[in-house]
């Protein structure tokens, strides 16, 4: 394994204070503040263009902030770049490798660059961990996207980092691949005690593993907190399967639930209602001649996230 510079004890792995990144006149990140505690799995969420990738690139020093402070493991990048990077493994956007080298050669090269002494042994261990045993000597150009994604996870673990930054690790994976990736992330967190920062549009995957959430929009932090606390505070989403859903929505909008319902992309009526409001809403619909076939009460990250971004638009 790599030789590391000792650093002081830390409880906060990432601390961003008023982080700003400008590209010319365009401000991609605008005063972002957030913290990631040691041992957590943080879901880093936001719509396209929210500044997620720019922030993640700043975390691994691919991009330098225009303003603000960024410290990792209690150390500032300016003075401790190499000590910090020795403790971070990352998979940023898509996994890119030297296509003219084999999978093992790619890992060995990156392991050497990370200062890993027994680079062959470590590379083989990780090929096994990500389920690519037997493909060590195949050129990366022959790998499918899913296999490259697995190899991408392997390369970010080469130097046994304390913090693993994963940007869209599930992109392009088939359902089995998504399950495998989720299990590997859970293993990294539970078995190996790693702190994980996970950015993904697969909200169900984030929901399955995240202990904390940060939602960003237009370069700002919209909300941050424990996943459990945030989801329990939110209003319960009710999905009602009803005949003539569009007419039912119009009726609700004209009555006491104006503005609280919407039609989802399957034509179902959904809305954020308190538990005690559900019977009266159903009664209201049936009394007005609508047939209610099913009621589903959910409290999912997807609903929370959509509700949050629809009701907390940040100023531009």
């Amino acid at each position: 394994m790599s030789t590391r510079t000792p650093i002081p004890h830390y409880s906060t792995v990432v601390k961003a204070v008023d982080l700003v990144k400008d590209y010319g006149t365009f401000r991609a990140v605008d005063g972002l503040n957030f913290e990631l505690k040691a041992g957590g799995v943080m879901g880093f969420l936001g719509p396209n263009g929210a500044g997620k990738s720019t922030t993640l690139r700043m975390l691994v020093d691919l991009i330098r902030p225009s303003r603000g402070q960024l410290s990792l493991f209690g150390l500032p990048y300016r003075t401790h770049r190499q000590a910090i990077l020795a403790r971070i493994g990352c998979l940023i956007e898509k996994p890119d490798f030297y296509k003219y080298l084999s999978a093992l050669q790619n890992l060995e090269l990156l392991a050497r660059a990370s200062g890993v002494k027994d680079y062959r042994k470590r590379s083989l261990e990780l090929m096994d961990f990500v389920g690519l045993s037997g493909r060590e000597n195949d050129k990366v150009s022959s790998f499918s996207h899913g296999m490259r994604q697995r190899l991408g996870l392997a390369q970010c673990l080469l130097h046994d980092p304390d913090l693993v930054v994963l940007d869209e690790p599930g992109t392009g994976l088939d359902p089995q691949g998504l399950v495998d990736m989720r299990e590997m992330i859970q293993n990294l967190h539970r078995e190996q005690g790693k702190t994980i920062l996970l950015s993904s549009h697969h909200l169900s995957e984030v929901e399955a593993v995240a202990t904390d959430l940060v939602v960003v929009d237009r370069g700002h932090c919209v909300v941050q907190g424990s996943a459990k606390a945030l989801l329990s505070q939110s209003e319960r989403q009710i999905r009602i399967t009803v005949g003539r859903a569009d007419e039912a929505l119009a009726l609700l909008n004209a009555g006491p639930w104006a503005g609280r319902g919407r039609l989802n992309d399957r034509g179902e009526l959904t809305g954020a209602l308190g538990r005690e409001e559900v019977p009266s809403a159903v009664q209201f619909l049936t009394q007005n001649g609508f047939e209610v076939y099913a009621i589903e009460s959910r409290q999912k990250l997807e609903d929370y996230y959509m509700n949050l971004l629809n009701h907390h638009p940040t100023e531009s």
Binding site: Y100, L110, R112, H159
Partner: protein, 280 residues
């Protein structure tokens, strides 16, 4: 860590098919030259020395392995900058285009160390390419044509170097040619730091060489002041090693100027690379 990074860069250069284009091109070009001179070398020598035939009588043949080696070196040193730039112009920008620069720059290695390892790898590649040319020019040619005194045409007329002096001069000439070619390599690596694709730095390097060469050859008073300071003016400084006496002062000036170019270009490269946002 720098040596590890240099090793990694060398592994990549060795594995890239593009790296062997230069060796293939040199082998083919030298093969063509050797074949042409073996078939019709006498006519070529008569053509080159036609202006001297009134005042000079040559007994025996001027055509030997050393002369052929000199001709090869003269012809190919013009083409080598392109072959060098083809690989070195890709060292940073090629990685940016592939996305692999992300992987490298998130390792606990300083950006300065990584870029210096690329300049180091560019030096190794340039040296090996030049060595290959040397083997073809100075070892294969004498094997085919035999050895003898070397007749070199200069501004002072025809100079004859005794055979025993030729090999040491070839060695020194390769040293000076390396200094010139490494300047080209440094230029293309530096341009590579500004780009996210490999075509730009390669074309940019060749464009700069063409413009500087044009400025160096145009007989315009305006350019007289800058001409001595252009690296292209010193690209053929190696030829002076075959003059008698050797103009050591001129050669030293060329070496210092080329060295200054290395320092300047590497400095610009480091300054740019340290501040570059990696967006690919």
């Amino acid at each position: 860590m720098w040596w590890t990074a240099l090793r990694n860069e060398s592994v990549k250069i060795l594995a890239k098919p593009r790296s062997y284009l230069g060796f293939l091109a040199i082998t083919l070009l030298v093969g063509v030259i050797l074949l042409a001179l073996a078939l019709d070398g006498k006519s070529y020598i008569e053509f080159v020395t036609s202006s001297l035939q009134q005042s000079l009588t040559v007994e025996g043949s001027m055509l030997n392995g050393y002369l052929v080696g000199f001709i090869i070196l003269q012809m190919l040193v013009v083409h080598l900058p392109l072959l060098v730039a083809l690989v070195t112009g890709d060292l940073v920008s090629g990685e940016a285009a592939m996305g692999t620069l992300r992987n490298l720059l998130t390792r606990p290695l300083s950006r300065r160390g990584l870029l210096l390892s690329k300049y180091g790898a560019a030096a190794v590649y340039t040296l090996v390419l030049l060595l290959w040319l040397g083997i073809m020019a100075v070892m294969v040619s004498p094997w085919i044509f035999g050895v003898g005194d070397l007749a070199v045409l200069s501004n002072e007329g025809l100079q004859i170097l005794p055979a025993e002096e030729v090999l040491p001069r070839f060695l020194q000439a390769f040293g000076v040619a390396f200094a010139a070619l490494y300047t080209v390599a440094c230029l293309s690596v530096t341009l590579s730091c500004f780009a996210d694709n490999s075509i730009g730095p390669i074309v940019g390097t060749m464009a700069i060489i063409m413009v500087f060469t044009l400025v160096g050859t145009l007989d315009v008073a305006l350019f007289d002041q800058i001409r001595p300071f252009l690296f292209t003016t010193h690209m053929a400084a190696w030829r002076s090693l075959f003059l008698d006496p050797v103009p050591w002062g001129d050669i030293l000036f060329s070496m210092v100027l080329l060295g200054a170019h290395w320092v300047l270009l590497i400095g610009v490269g480091l300054w740019t690379f340290e501040r570059k946002d990696i967006l690919t």
